[in-house]
Amino acid sequence: MSVSVPMIRQTAGAGAARAAARSRGQSSGINRRPGWITYTILAAIILASAYPIYYAFLLASSDTITIAQNPVPSLIPGPNLFSNISRVVNSDIKFWPAVLNSLIVAVVTSISVVFFATLAGFAFAKLRFRARRPLLVFIIATMAVPTQLGVVPLFIIMSKLEWTGKLIAVIVPAMVTAFGVFWMTQYLEAALPYELIEAARVDGCSMLRTFYHVAMPAARPAAAILALFTFVGSWTSFFWPFIVLGGRNPTLPVALQLLQASYFKDYSLIMAGVVAATVPLILVFIFLGRQLVSGIMQGAVKG
C-alpha cells in the first residue's frame, strides 16, 4: 500500500499524503464497527448494481411472448438461454468473427500500452534528462484533450492508408495512452530503487538491458493492473470501431448494434447477445475485480 501515498499526493495534496502515511492502518475511537443500517444501504447499492445485468440474463433465458406478457420478469430464469445464444451465433451478425476481433484488439492494445507505458514510465521516473518535468506535465495535460473530436481527420487518414474496415485502424490509435505513462511513472518512482539501476549499469548493462532486466520485473504489479484497464476499455469501446470498422468487420459492441438494428423486436435474442458479450468481462471481474478496485483507488482515471 505504500504505493498509494504518492498517488494521494497527486490527487489530494501533500498534506493529505503526509497524513495518510502517518495514519494508514491505524484505528482510533472513530473507527468502530458500523451498524446494520450501513450494511442495508450497501446491500441496496449492490442490488442496484447487479440487477440490470441479471435482468438481461432473465430476458435472455426467456422468449418474446413471455417478455411481452411480463414487463417485470420473474426472478427465476427461463429455459431458453442456450437456444437464444445459439440463435445469436447463427444470426447474420458475424458473432464469432466479432468475438475474435474484440479479443485481438483488446490483447494487442493491452500488451502495447503496457510495453510503451512502462518504457516511458521508466525514463520519467528514473532517468535524468533535460526537460523531463515539462515533458511529463505535457503528457498529463493531454489527458484533458477531447481527442474523440478529431474523428473526421482521423477517418480521412485511415481512408488514405486504406485501413478502414481493418483492425489495425482500431489498434494503432490505442497503442499507448497518456494515462498509462502517468500510471507507470507514478509506480516506478516508488517501486524501483536507484541502487538496482546503478548496479545493472555498473555490471555493464546498456539502458535497454537495464530496462528489460530491472525495470520490467519491478513494474509487474502495476503493469498487470494497467493491462486489465486497457483490456476492459478496449472491449467496451464503441464510437471509433463503429465508425472505422462498420458492419463488415465488427468488434462485439458493433455487432450488438447490428443485432439491435436487425432484430429489434426480438428481445430475448438481443439480450442473449448482451449476455454473450458481457460474460467474458464478468469472468474477468470475478477473478480480477480486486485488482480493478485497487487500481481505481490508486488513482486510475476514466478512459
Partner: protein, 331 residues
C-alpha cells in the same frame, strides 16, 4: 565508472585506447538519448492520432469536404454558418447539456455518499468495494440495450413498476426530458460506483485527527462530513467533475443505442452533439466539412464548460475549506 578511469590513465596501447573511447562514446550516447527514445512513442502517436486530427479538423471545417469525394473548395466559415442555422444543432446542444447535467450532478453527489458509506470500518471490505464496481465491466452499448428495454414506453419494466405505485405511464422515448432521464440513468449506472471508489481513496487520506478535533468541538456525523470530509475531497471533486465534463459532453454510445434507428428519436429528442456530428459526416449528407465544424464548436464548448466547472467547484469547495480553517484557528 571504474573502467572509464582505467582507460583514461593507460594510453600505452593506441588500439585498445581507441576501441575503449568508442565504447565510451556509445555509452554516453546511450545515457543521453535513451530517455528521449523511450518516451517518444507517446509523443509520436499523440501527434499523429490526437493533436494533428484536432488541428486538421479546423482546416477541414473551412472546406467543402465529402466523405467519399474528398476535399472541395475553400468556403471560409460557411460550414459554421450552415450548422448554426440548423435548429437541429441547437436541439442536439440542449439534449447534450440536459443529459450531462442529469448524469454528472446526481452522480457526483451519490458517489460521495456511497464513498462515505464504504469508508466505514466494514467487514468484508473488498466484497462491498467490488460490488459497486460491477457495472463498470458492462459495455455502454450493452447497458443501453438493457435500459432501453427496461424503459420501454409500452410494457416496460419501469413503467409497470410505476403503475403499481399508481403513477401513470411515462413516455420514456417520446418525451424529450424523460428520454434524457433514461439515458442519464445509464451513465449513472455505469460510473457512480467507479467514482465512489475514487472518492473513497481520497477519504481514506483524510487525517483522522481532523475528525477527532471535530468530535471534540461537538460536531455530529453530518457536520463532520460537510466540514471535514468535503473540503479535503476538493481536488478529487474537481478531478472527477472535469473528467466527467470531457466525457459527458461527447456522449454517443448510450443515446445512439436507445432505439434501433440510432437517430436520436423521431424529433431528435435525444440526439446529442456527437450523434449530430456523426449524422452530418456519415449520414445522408456525407459532409465532413460540416461535421468538422460541429467538432470544433463542441471542442470550444467543452473548453469553456471545463473552465466554468473548475471555477465553480473550486469556489464551493474552498468555502467549505474556509470553515475548517476557522475551526483550526480556534483550536
Amino acid at each position: 565508472m571504474a573502467t572509464v578511469i582505467t582507460t583514461d590513465t593507460s594510453p600505452q596501447n593506441p588500439e585498445t585506447d581507441r576501441r575503449n573511447r568508442r565504447r565510451n562514446l556509445r555509452g554516453r550516447l546511450d545515457v543521453k538519448l535513451s530517455p528521449y527514445l523511450y518516451i517518444s512513442p507517446f509523443y509520436i502517436l499523440f501527434a499523429v492520432v490526437g493533436l494533428f486530427p484536432l488541428v486538421y479538423t479546423a482546416y477541414v471545417s473551412l472546406h467543402q469536404w465529402h466523405l467519399i469525394g474528398g476535399q472541395g473548395a475553400f468556403v471560409g466559415f460557411q460550414n459554421y454558418v450552415d450548422v448554426l442555422n440548423q435548429p437541429r444543432f441547437f436541439t442536439a446542444l440542449r439534449n447534450t447539456f440536459s443529459i450531462f447535467l442529469l448524469s454528472s450532478v446526481p452522480q457526483v453527489i451519490v458517489a460521495i455518499i456511497v464513498a462515505a458509506v464504504l469508508d466505514a470500518n466494514l467487514r468484508a471490505r473488498t466484497f462491498w468495494r467490488m460490488g459497486v464496481l460491477i457495472p463498470y465491466v458492462v459495455a455502454p452499448v450493452a447497458v443501453s440495450l438493457i435500459f432501453s428495454r427496461a424503459f420501454a414506453d409500452q410494457a416496460g419494466m419501469i413503467n409497470s413498476l410505476l403503475g403499481d405505485l399508481g403513477i401513470s405511464r411515462i413516455r420514456w422515448h417520446a418525451d424529450p426530458f424523460s428520454s434524457h432521464v433514461a439515458i442519464a440513468s445509464m451513465v449513472n449506472f455505469r460510473w457512480t460506483g467507479y467514482n465512489a471508489l475514487i472518492f473513497l481513496a481520497a477519504m481514506q487520506a483524510v487525517p483522522r485527527d481532523l475528525y477527532e478535533a471535530a468530535v471534540l468541538d461537538g460536531a455530529n456525523r453530518v457536520r463532520q462530513f460537510f466540514s471535514v470530509t468535503v473540503p479535503v475531497l476538493r481536488p478529487t471533486i474537481i478531478f472527477v467533475v472535469i473528467t466527467s465534463t470531457i466525457g459527458g459532453l461527447q456522449i454517443f454510445d448510450e443515446p445512439r443505442m436507445f432505439d434501433q434507428l440510432g437517430q436520436g428519436g423521431a424529433d431528435r429528442q435525444w440526439m446529442t452533439v456527437t450523434m449530430y456530428l456523426y449524422e452530418l459526416g456519415w449520414g445522408a449528407q456525407k459532409s465532413f466539412g460540416r461535421a468538422a465544424a460541429v467538432a470544433w464548436i463542441l471542442f470550444l464548448i467543452i473548453l469553456v464548460v471545463g473552465l466554468i466547472n473548475f471555477t465553480i467547484t473550486r469556489r464551493i469547495a474552498s468555502e467549505g475549506m474556509a470553515v475548517t480553517k476557522k475551526r483550526g484557528g480556534t483550536r
